[in-house]
C-alpha cells in the first residue's frame, strides 16, 4: 500500500485524487474513493487537508502548473513575430484542453460549482501563463503590430476568450454541422485578430495549420 511516501500521505492522496478524477470524472470524485485508492482511511484526508474543497484546490493547483508548463514550452520554442507567438500560445492552450479535458475542466471548476473561493495566494503562484502573454503583448505593441492597450487587462481577456472557446468545445455544445478543429482554428484566428493593430497585415496567419 505504499507507492509514493515522499513526505507523507499528502502527495499520495492528491495523486490518488487525480487518478480518480481522470478515470471517473469530477462528479464521481468522492473522499472515500480517493482514500480507498490511496490505501488509507477516508478521514485521514482531514489530517492533511481542511476538507474536500481544499483537496480539490490542490488538484487545481497541479493542473494549472501542468498547463503553464505546456505554455512555457510553447513560448520557448516559438520564434518570430509576436503574432506568431501569441498564436502558438493559444494553440498550446487548446491542445492541452483537448488532450486532458478533465484536468482542464477542474481548473475552472471553482466558478460553476460554488466552491470555497480558490485562495488568492495560490492564485498568484499560478500566473505564469498570464505573464507570458503580457510579455508577448508588450513586445508586439513596441513593434507596432498589436493594438496599444493595457497589456495586463488584455492578457486576461485573451485567456478568458480562449477559455470560453474550449469550454463550449469540451461541453460538446457545438453544433454538429460545425467541425471542431475548424471551429477552434477560426476562434483562435479571431481572437488574435482582435489584438492586431489595424492596417498592419502580415501574410502568415490566416492560414490553417490544422485541418
Amino acid at each position: 500500500m505504499e507507492e509514493t511516501k515522499d513526505q507523507g500521505l499528502k502527495l499520495q492522496i492528491v495523486e490518488a485524487a487525480r487518478e480518480v478524477l481522470l478515470s471517473e470524472g469530477y462528479r464521481n470524485l468522492s473522499l472515500r474513493k480517493i482514500a480507498r485508492r490511496a490505501g488509507v482511511s477516508a478521514t485521514s484526508i482531514y489530517l492533511h487537508f481542511e476538507g474536500k474543497d481544499d483537496l480539490v484546490h490542490a488538484l487545481i493547483e497541479e493542473a494549472i502548473a501542468r498547463l503553464n508548463h505546456r505554455l512555457e514550452q510553447a513560448a520557448g520554442t516559438t520564434k518570430g513575430s509576436p503574432i506568431n507567438k501569441i498564436e502558438a500560445l493559444a494553440r498550446a492552450y487548446a491542445d492541452f484542453a483537448l488532450e486532458h479535458p478533465r484536468e482542464y475542466q477542474v481548473i475552472y471548476l471553482v466558478s460553476s460549482d460554488e466552491m470555497t473561493r480558490y485562495p488568492k495566494e495560490k492564485f498568484r503562484k499560478a500566473r505564469k501563463g498570464y505573464e507570458l502573454v503580457i510579455d508577448v503583448l508588450k513586445q508586439g505593441i513596441q513593434e507596432g503590430v498589436i493594438q496599444k492597450t493595457k497589456p495586463g487587462t488584455a492578457a486576461y481577456t485573451f485567456w478568458a476568450q480562449l477559455h470560453g472557446v474550449m469550454s463550449v468545445v469540451l461541453s460538446k455544445r457545438l453544433d454538429t454541422r460545425i467541425n471542431q478543429n475548424e471551429f477552434i482554428e477560426e476562434a483562435i484566428s479571431h481572437i488574435v485578430s482582435g489584438y492586431r493593430q489595424q492596417g498592419s497585415l502580415e501574410m502568415d496567419d490566416i492560414k490553417e495549420q490544422r485541418i
Copy 2:
C-alpha cells in the same frame, strides 16, 4: 401550499427549484429542499422528471429562454451599423450574466460538472440568440464592415468568447488590480474588433459607454 397549480406540479417544482437555486446556489440545490419548498414529497419529483439532471435541464432551458429574451430585446431596440448591433448584443449578454449570475452559471453547468448530456432537441429550441448573431454577421459581411467568414461558425465563436469573459468575471478570478467593468468593456471591444474587416474603421466604437 398551492401557489401556481397551472397544469400540475411540474411548473411548481421547477419554480421552487429556481427559487432554491437563486437563494442558495447550485451547490445546495437538493431534491428534498426543492420538494419542501414546493410543499410536496421528494420522490414526487420523479413523477414529473427522470431525475435530478432532468430537472436541472428544465432550469437550464428556462435560463436560456430568459437570456434569449434579453438578447432579442437588445437586438430589436438597437439600430445602426451591424457593428453597433453586435456590440449591443454583447453588452446585453454581459449584463444578464452580471445581474443573474446563478441563473447564468447554470446554463454552462452541463460541462464542468459531468452531467447527463443536455438533450440536443432542447438545444435546438434554445438557439435564438445564436441566430440573432448570424443575421447581424451576414448583414455586416454584405456591407463590407465584417470579415468574410462562415457566419455559422463565427456566431459560435462569438458566444464562446463572451462566455469565457463572463466566466472569469463571475468566478472572481480577476486580478484585483483590474477593474471589472473596464475589463468587460475592453473584452467586448476586442471580441468585436476580431470580426471587423481590416481597414474599415468607424469612429464610434472604441469609446466607453460604461464606466
